[in-house]
């Protein structure tokens, strides 16, 4: 055999041709990047693209429900909803950003508290101020129905970026069966951390198959719930100025709107401050005393399975747990909910969800119409069938809604919003979440909360500087 195939083409020619081919391929790839990477979003024609956090089947159902209404506004318009799965919001945001990086930016995207400031700070989503002001009269019934704490959590630097349609406050779910077996009565209103600890001890005495308390390592509803109750936070709490344009009109005369500002301003990291150290040490102590097992990181599927199978006495959950536990086979009455116990304060946390309009969208006006549809009372159960989250509208929180799933004390979800603070999700939320996961597991495995939180403080300071 020779080095060639007998054609009058030497190696140099082959290399030249190969090089040219590679260059062309590269050029084509770069062209593709340039064409799609910058702009994103759909053009002025074509379907309105929406990214939905959940299964594609649910996204398709929603699409079918909304499209006829969109056609009423614009006969030529259509809606294309893509479901994106994720273990948690962290995972969802990463996937959305990957899609944007690939040059496929949507017109509308599902954004929870976790991603709101990040997207707003990077001007990925647009403020809704002018739209809201323009349609204030038709939106007044919405604002009358929604807690101002939820609306404020969707503001950033004085501007409103989303109309929230759902939220989840970190309450304490408990197994009524295990409570009964341990001879415990339902937690009283205003129960304290001491009550919680006593209950946990009694639940643990049921045997090694019962975990008195379990939780998940994440920003929402993990040891952070204890941190909030201990009157602390990972970042300094503050408010942006502004927002009067909304409060003075939409919430005029509403005492719950007093002192509201232009959104939560997350300041200097306070991860290694005393309340943080105490809160993390508290959950480490729960583990050491065998009142709590080692928690999973992210998601809540395993925790839900364990709770549903009667192996966990208490855990932190929101309205989403009602549908989740029901779907996992728990019967109404086999679990209930109480407010998070009071420690040094009764401050609790929550996260809210809604839809943001992408800055690159060529159909912002139509997208706004869809946003308004999404907060209509009749849309809620199409978007979130089966109590898989808590409705932002108070009028939707009825005994009838929780009749089939439970819990009995569903009103806790809403009541807990008074005096609550959203999860501390600054524009550098992803870095914060990564550090929180790493440093929490470090503390749990080493037993040294202070050292881990010193590390987190340093991580957050760096993340803040780089953001």
């Amino acid at each position: 055999m020779t080095g060639s195939f007998g054609l009058d083409m030497d190696r140099r020619t082959l290399l030249k041709l190969g090089g040219a081919g590679a260059a062309l391929t590269g050029l084509a790839a770069l062209t593709a990047c340039t064409a799609s990477g910058g702009a994103g979003g759909s053009g002025s024609s074509g379907a309105l693209k929406m990214l939905y956090f959940g299964q594609q089947s649910a996204a398709t159902t929603l699409q079918k429900a909304l499209e006829p209404q969109i056609k009423k506004i614009d006969k030529s318009a259509s809606l294309e909803i893509t479901g994106i799965n994720g273990t948690d919001w962290n995972d969802f945001i990463a996937k959305v950003l990957t899609q944007i990086a690939a040059g496929s930016a949507p017109d509308l995207v599902s954004v929870a508290t976790e991603g709101l400031q990040q997207m707003a700070a990077k001007q990925m989503i647009v403020p809704l101020d002018t739209y809201v002001t323009k349609d204030m009269s038709s939106l007044q019934s919405y604002f009358d129905d929604v807690h101002p704490a939820l609306v404020e959590s969707m503001m950033y630097q004085g501007h409103l970026y989303e109309l929230t349609d759902s939220f989840n406050a970190g309450s304490m779910f408990y197994s009524t069966n295990l409570y009964a077996k341990a001879g415990l009565s339902a937690p009283a209103a205003g129960w304290t951390m001491d009550d919680f600890y006593n209950n946990a001890q009694k639940l643990a005495s049921l045997g090694s198959n019962t975990n008195a308390f379990d939780w998940v390592v994440r920003l929402w509803g993990s040891w952070t719930s204890f941190l909030y109750a201990n009157n602390g936070n990972l970042l300094e709490e503050g408010k942006y100025s502004g927002g009067d344009w909304l409060w003075n009109k939409a919430y005029a005369g509403n005492p719950l709107a007093q002192g509201r500002g232009g959104g939560w301003k997350w300041g200097q990291p306070t991860a290694n401050a005393t309340p943080s150290v105490e809160a993390l040490e508290y959950v480490i102590e729960l583990q050491r005393s065998k009142l709590s097992p080692s928690p999973d990181v992210g998601g809540g599927g395993t925790l839900q399975g364990l709770f549903a199978s009667g192996r966990i006495g208490m855990t932190i959950g929101g309205g989403f747990w009602a549908g989740g536990l029901h779907n996992a086979g728990m019967k109404t009455g086999s679990f209930d909910v109480a407010p998070f116990p009071t420690w040094k304060s009764n401050k609790s946390l929550f996260g809210a969800g809604g839809y943001g309009i992408f800055n690159t969208s060529q159909k912002k006006d139509l997208a706004w119409e869809v946003v308004k549809m999404l907060v209509q009372p009749e849309t809620f159960d199409i978007v979130y069938p089966g109590n898989v989250t808590t409705p932002a509208r108070k009028s939707l929180m009825t005994a009838d809604r929780y009749k089939t799933t439970g819990p009995e004390h569903w009103s806790v979800f809403w009541d807990q919003l008074n005096g609550s603070v959203p999860i501390s999700a600054p524009p550098y939320y992803q870095a914060l979440a990564t550090s929180l996961n790493q440093r929490t597991t470090q503390a749990l495995s080493s037993g040294n909360a202070k050292a881990a939180l010193d590390g987190m403080q340093s991580d957050l300071e760096k993340a803040q500087a780089n953001s």
Binding site: F5, G6, G18, N437
Partner: protein, 318 residues
């Protein structure tokens, strides 16, 4: 022996003679040549599009600051200077090397041991059975295996701790203690990957000349001496190949730690690729993530180079 120039000259003469003898031969040769280049072209195009261009783009991107949303900004070598002073990222490289060494050592030694044992079986069906059994995990999706293993090794309700409890043994914090998490990770990767090295070694051991083994036997060499003095040297090129491939794979470890521990506890299983993912897709620092990728590439190249250098002394080519 011909030099390449001489070879080409001879080939040209032969081609010319064939062309003189048969008028259609040149066309046939041309057609064959085009076919040959097409075959090579496919591989070249594949490697170019899926390997070379991404590497070059990553290299270019490593000199930029880019958050996907705003246009990239050229920042020179800042990403690299930051990288060499970033304790967390450097620590992830340390974790990667530590896990990779554990994986490669165990994967090669276990693969060899299993191959020797299976090769010593007399019945063909037992050999086929073990070959299939040990290779099967390799066919499973790494993500599925990781999820499954996560449940198996769960400290709270995992099957392994359950049976340890049944035996009166204490529960092991498999994935919640830094050291046990690293050991568990190595075991899981080796469990899934050992089939690859095993199959290579089985084939290689089968090709060891029987006359050499017979001669060793006549000279009184026992089982171990035959293994270490005859078989291992003879299959050393395969061992080198398996080691290089296993090391390259292990240095890119991502799925198992990402799914099972998210890189924890702490940063005990945060590998360089997880660090890269977090930097790029979570912190939106794609330029910095590219710099991490380039450093990982350089380290893999260096390790591979060292392996080949060591092979000059350790590998025996027949």
């Amino acid at each position: 022996m011909y030099t390449s120039t001489e070879t080409q000259a001879v080939a040209s003469r032969v081609t010319a003679q064939v062309a003189v003898r048969r008028p259609g031969a040149r066309r046939t040769a041309r057609r064959e040549a085009v076919f040959g280049y097409l075959m090579i072209g496919l591989a070249v195009a594949f490697v170019t599009v899926f390997t070379l261009i991404p590497i070059l783009v990553s290299l270019g991107l490593s000199f930029f600051s880019w958050d996907v949303i705003t246009p990239p900004q050229f920042i020179g070598v800042k990403n690299f200077t930051r990288l060499f002073s970033d304790g967390q990222v450097l620590s992830s490289f340390g974790v990667t090397v530590l896990l990779a060494v554990g994986i490669v050592v165990l994967q090669i030694s276990l693969g060899l041991l299993l191959a020797v044992l299976v090769n010593s079986r007399k019945h063909a069906w037992t050999k086929a059975f073990f070959r299939t059994t040990f290779y099967l995990p390799l066919l499973a999706s790494t993500a599925a295996v990781s999820i499954f293993m996560g449940y198996l090794f769960d400290a709270k309700f995992g099957l392994i701790n359950y049976y340890l409890g049944e035996l009166g043994l204490p529960a092991v914090p498999w994935l919640v203690n830094p050291v046990t998490a690293q050991i568990t990770m190595v075991l899981i990767v080796v469990w899934q990957q050992v089939g690859f090295t095993f199959v290579l070694f089985v084939a290689s051991l089968a090709s060891v000349p029987t006359d050499v083994l017979e001669a060793a036997s006549i000279d009184g060499a026992g089982t171990w001496r035959t293994l270490f003095r005859i078989k291992v040297p003879l299959i050393s090129p395969t061992i080198l190949f398996a080691t290089v491939v296993a090391m390259i794979n292990a240095m890119q470890l991502f799925d198992q730690p990402f799914i099972m521990t998210k890189g924890g506890p702490g940063t005990a299983t945060t590998t360089a690729t997880i660090s890269m993912y977090q930097t790029g897709f979570q912190n939106l620092q794609f330029g910095y993530a590219s710099a991490i990728a380039i450093l990982l590439l350089v380290i893999i190249l260096l390790i591979t180079g060292v392996q080949f250098l060591a092979a000059r002394k350790l590998v025996f080519y027949q």
